[in-house]
Subunit: 233 residues, 2 copies
């Protein structure tokens, strides 16, 4: 019995395209790994040596300028795929935000396996297309939205993406009304292209205006989703 058989993301990750025989072969070239919060799996500009599936946890994808400014260019959740198959270099760093478990493959092994399994490549293509759509939508936020709109949009996005497949406490349409942010204020700023101070001020303003509540530093309660959506522009 391979590790895949008990994998919690087995039916959602790209692996779901494989039958048990193929899964066994994939399992043979991969290995599990856990990451502590803040630990990186790959670095920007590095040779693309690894790819992986996220089993558990939240990770950020980030790039930066030489003088230290950082931009988070993506956030990945369980069942998401990370790394750059069929390419020579990694365009962004990958760092765990929470404790995380991933299923890692040497890129070369994965590439070879994928080329022999069109159904796997098809899943990967679907995922990549969806991620590209999502990324492009985020560009509208970065380029054209005000700080208030950015923060409101961010909170709504989080309330949709932090839903665990098996978790309680979300509204009928699958959106959380209360959640714990996997980001520090600085990281929120790095997602939104703002400074930490501006993010903090917007949080307190949204709270003061009754749209959200902030029981603790990382906890967020969406009190008035409609108003927050209006604020998001």
């Amino acid at each position: 019995m391979s590790a895949c058989d008990t994998c919690v993301v087995r039916n959602r990750a790209i692996c779901s395209s494989l039958d048990s025989e193929e899964l066994k072969a994939l399992n043979a070239i991969g290995r599990r790994r856990t990451l502590e919060p803040g630990e990186s799996l790959m670095w920007e500009g590095e040779d693309s040596v690894l790819v992986a599936n996220v089993i558990e946890g939240v990770l950020k994808l980030s790039t930066g300028t030489e003088d230290g400014r950082e931009q988070i260019v993506g956030v990945v959740y369980p069942s998401d795929f990370i790394g750059r198959p069929f390419g020579s270099t990694t365009g962004h760093g990958v760092t765990a935000l929470t404790e995380a478990r991933v299923c890692v493959f040497a890129r070369k092994d994965f590439d070879a396996f994928a080329r022999e399994h069109p159904a796997l490549e098809h899943k990967l293509l679907q995922r990549t297309l969806a991620e590209l759509d999502r990324t492009r939508r985020w560009m509208l936020l970065l380029g054209r939205k005000s700080a208030g709109e950015k923060v409101a949009s961010f909170l709504l996005d989080m309330s949709e993406r932090l839903v665990q497949p098996d978790c309680m406490g979300f509204t009928s349409d699958g959106k959380l009304s209360r959640f714990s942010l996997p980001f520090s204020r600085q990281q929120v700023a790095d997602v939104l292209g703002l400074t930490i101070e501006t993010v903090s001020r917007q949080f307190t303003r949204l709270k003061a205006e009754g749209m959200i509540d902030l029981p603790s530093r990382r906890e967020v309660v969406i009190v008035d989703r409609e108003a927050l959506a209006a604020e998001a522009g």
Copy 2:
């Protein structure tokens, strides 16, 4: 003899994965179309009914907010692929910036054809991964760069991407030192997340500082590439 046999992007577009028999089949489900500058091929939010290959010309991909702010989320050139295969809706509008020729397919037909031709899907995956990398790099610009850095980065990007496979007048490393922008000032602003006035001021500043020259509204000459690269941050 099918239209594909004389296609100028035949060897660079995703079609290059097909043999002549397959190409004939693909040709049977596609048709050519020309677009005037400003003409749209698809609209944001619309059902995904078409996909296409760009044969000639430059097109923009753009999204906007309800209140009319616009963000250009991508620019496509000859041999690039457009549209959203395997998905129900189009996330962004596609509009010709120059006169353009495209090779259009009904999405359903294309999807079916692609699923039967793994080599084609593989090419599409490679392209999509590369586009995602590029898009993520652009997020750093949108989120973290100043107006001066944005404009300088933009000009350098243009000097690399406007190179025609068969054109003269580029430096040894395949970068143009003189080119004609396919964008109006407003469109440059929409790519960079700035206002038209800020773009104009940065253009004149870069010219005043001797990094570029502007022989006419659309023409750009890169005089000091090194200084421009430093300016790009």
